[in-house]
């Protein structure tokens, strides 16, 4: 029995609405804001991997295509069957990310009417404030599959248009948003042109290759590109993804099976080629970052490659150390961080020196995103390790100013709509 009795309309009590794809990000993430207020509001936090839902603004990108013919095709498709996927190779009917609509923030459209600035920037700023982020690095979404596009010229034209859209329209609107330049890796000479053009752009803090592709990263056609990126001092990130059409994955009958394996698959292949061909010896100052494969694959691959290289050194003659030692010098992003077994996670983090090599990433607003509390609440990390992973490692690698950029969590909570 209780001490007092109230109705649901009494002071201090209010009803909360269902969270849907139309809810304001600050309401959707209010629990993350409370977590920030409770444990990490004074930390410097950088989110290395969040996403632009570029399909919502796709005609803005299509209009920036240089090639007259592809621009005309893209804009025509966008008004018809192609819609917000014009020219892209994603399969909308195989895009089960929202689990039949259960997870509304994947592909959400929240009210931004009346707020000055680009709607994407408004939504992104709300997300940064709600999660307590000082900076957020934004990647494309549907374009993550472009490496498998059968038309190389389409990848080139969309890459150029998307990069212009980011650099000219989006990033200048908020100093807390930063980008990694999309490299159309199927066409190395265009990647070189783009690196030359954007290497000094302040808001472009690195370069990205979408990992879902079948190009061998050690191919000689990429050596000049790597040299240019190494000279820029900015990191090269391989962002993993999925491709259900890949023959290995075509035998998997559920999205979850394919998703679980493919996001680790592509980065494992690229790291394997990178190491066996001794790329760290050839580009020792190139900062390599592996994005969105979680962490569990890292000790697996370290052990597999060490095991094989010890028996077959003649097949990896450029290596002067064990593959795992090079892997301990690479950088990794955290999401989707496997954490159903804390003991395994602790050992995993030890294996690659997470304290200095791991960078927090949210993947917001995708369905399997991670809140900063996934790091802040880990029972086995020191305070300093948490601060490093949540922001200071990113500041070191990307050369970011660590003065506080975000509003106080209490202020964000007080100012949110509070509908949900």
């Amino acid at each position: 029995m209780s001490d007092t009795k109230d109705t649901k309309t009494a002071p201090g009590i209010r009803e909360l609405a269902e969270i849907t794809g139309r809810s304001d990000t600050r309401d959707v993430l209010a629990h993350a804001t409370k977590q920030a207020a409770r444990s990490y509001d004074d930390y410097f936090v950088v989110d290395i991997d969040a996403h632009v839902s570029e399909d919502h603004f796709w005609t803005e990108v299509l209009e920036l295509i240089d090639n007259d013919v592809l621009r005309q095709i893209g804009l025509t498709q966008s008004k018809g069957f192609g819609g917000s996927n014009a020219l892209l190779n994603i399969s909308p009917g195989l895009s089960h990310q929202s689990v039949g609509g259960r997870i509304g923030h994947q592909g959400r459209r929240e009210p931004v009417e009346g707020v000055p600035g680009h709607p994407f920037v408004t939504a992104a700023r709300r997300g940064m404030d709600a999660m307590g982020l000082d900076y957020q690095i934004v990647f494309p979404s549907a374009m993550l599959l472009l490496g498998m596009h059968p038309q190389d010229d389409v990848e080139v034209e969309l890459a150029k248009a998307f990069n212009r859209w980011m650099v000219e329209k989006i990033l200048p609107q908020d100093a807390r948003l930063k980008g990694l330049l999309y490299l159309p890796y199927n066409t190395p000479e265009v990647c070189e042109e783009l690196v030359a053009k954007y290497a000094k752009a302040d808001d472009i803090i690195g370069f990205t290759v979408c990992s879902t592709r079948n190009n061998a990263v050690h191919a000689d056609c990429y050596m000049r590109l790597y040299a240019m990126i190494q000279d820029s001092g900015k990191p090269l990130a391989f962002h993993s993804g999925y491709h259900w059409g890949d023959p290995s994955f075509a035998q998997l009958n559920r999205f979850l099976s394919m998703h679980a394996l493919s996001f680790t698959h592509y980065n494992q292949i690229h790291v394997t080629n990178w190491l066996v061909n001794a790329m760290p010896e050839r580009f020792p100052r190139l900062k390599m970052l592996w994005v969105e494969s979680g962490l569990a694959w890292i000790p697996f691959l370290m052990q597999r490659l060490d095991h094989e290289v010890l028996m077959r050194p003649s097949e990896a003659p450029g290596l002067k150390r064990l593959p795992s030692e090079y892997m301990r010098e690479m950088f990794y992003t955290s999401q989707p961080m496997e954490r159903t077994n804390m003991k395994l996670l602790e050992v995993t983090m030890e294996a690659f020196n997470a304290e200095t090599q791991l960078l927090y990433s949210s993947d917001w607003p995708h369905w399997d995103w991670d809140a900063p509390s996934t790091i802040a609440d880990l029972p086995f990390l020191s305070e300093q390790a948490k601060r490093n992973i949540l922001g200071l490692n990113a500041a070191r690698i990307f050369n970011l100013d660590t003065t506080r950029k975000k509003p106080a969590a209490a202020q964000v909570l007080a100012e949110r709509p509070g509908v949900s």
Binding site: M1, D6, K8, E18
Partner: protein, 129 residues
């Protein structure tokens, strides 16, 4: 000591049982404590609005029938189906599902929602927070 243990306990009448029956769920914020109150098959439950996964607002997502794998007597798959009796609370943050009546996750019964005391008195649903 937890926040709830230090606070004075408070009874909150969330409404008539018929209203809850018709709406299936009512979620309240009671001085910063979120609670979802549910009605199913004549039973009432109240769950804390904090997901055991990453602390998301679990009671504010969709309610869906449990998905079942139908298997014939020959062990051949008969495809997916919706349960006609079991309904799940779906956390809107990442989709963890919990049975409305037991609060348990369908794949891991060790994972569950935290129950709050709830009762029906003179046709009114009263939750203690």
């Amino acid at each position: 000591m937890s926040d709830t243990a230090m606070r004075q306990k408070r009874d909150v009448t969330i409404g008539r049982l018929e209203e809850l029956q018709q709406r299936e769920r009512i979620v309240l914020d009671i001085e910063g404590i979120g609670v979802g109150v549910y009605f199913l098959h004549g039973e009432v439950r109240a769950w804390l609005n904090i997901c055991p996964h990453q602390g998301g607002p679990v009671c504010q997502g969709k309610i869906m029938p449990r998905t079942v794998q139908k298997v014939g007597p020959d062990q051949k798959s008969k495809g997916l189906g919706f349960s006609e009796t079991e309904r799940n609370i779906v956390c809107p943050w990442h989709g963890f599902e919990f049975d409305i009546l037991t609060g348990k996750h369908p794949s891991n019964p060790k994972l569950g929602l935290r129950a709050l005391p709830v009762r029906v008195e003179n046709g009114e649903v009263i939750v203690t927070v």
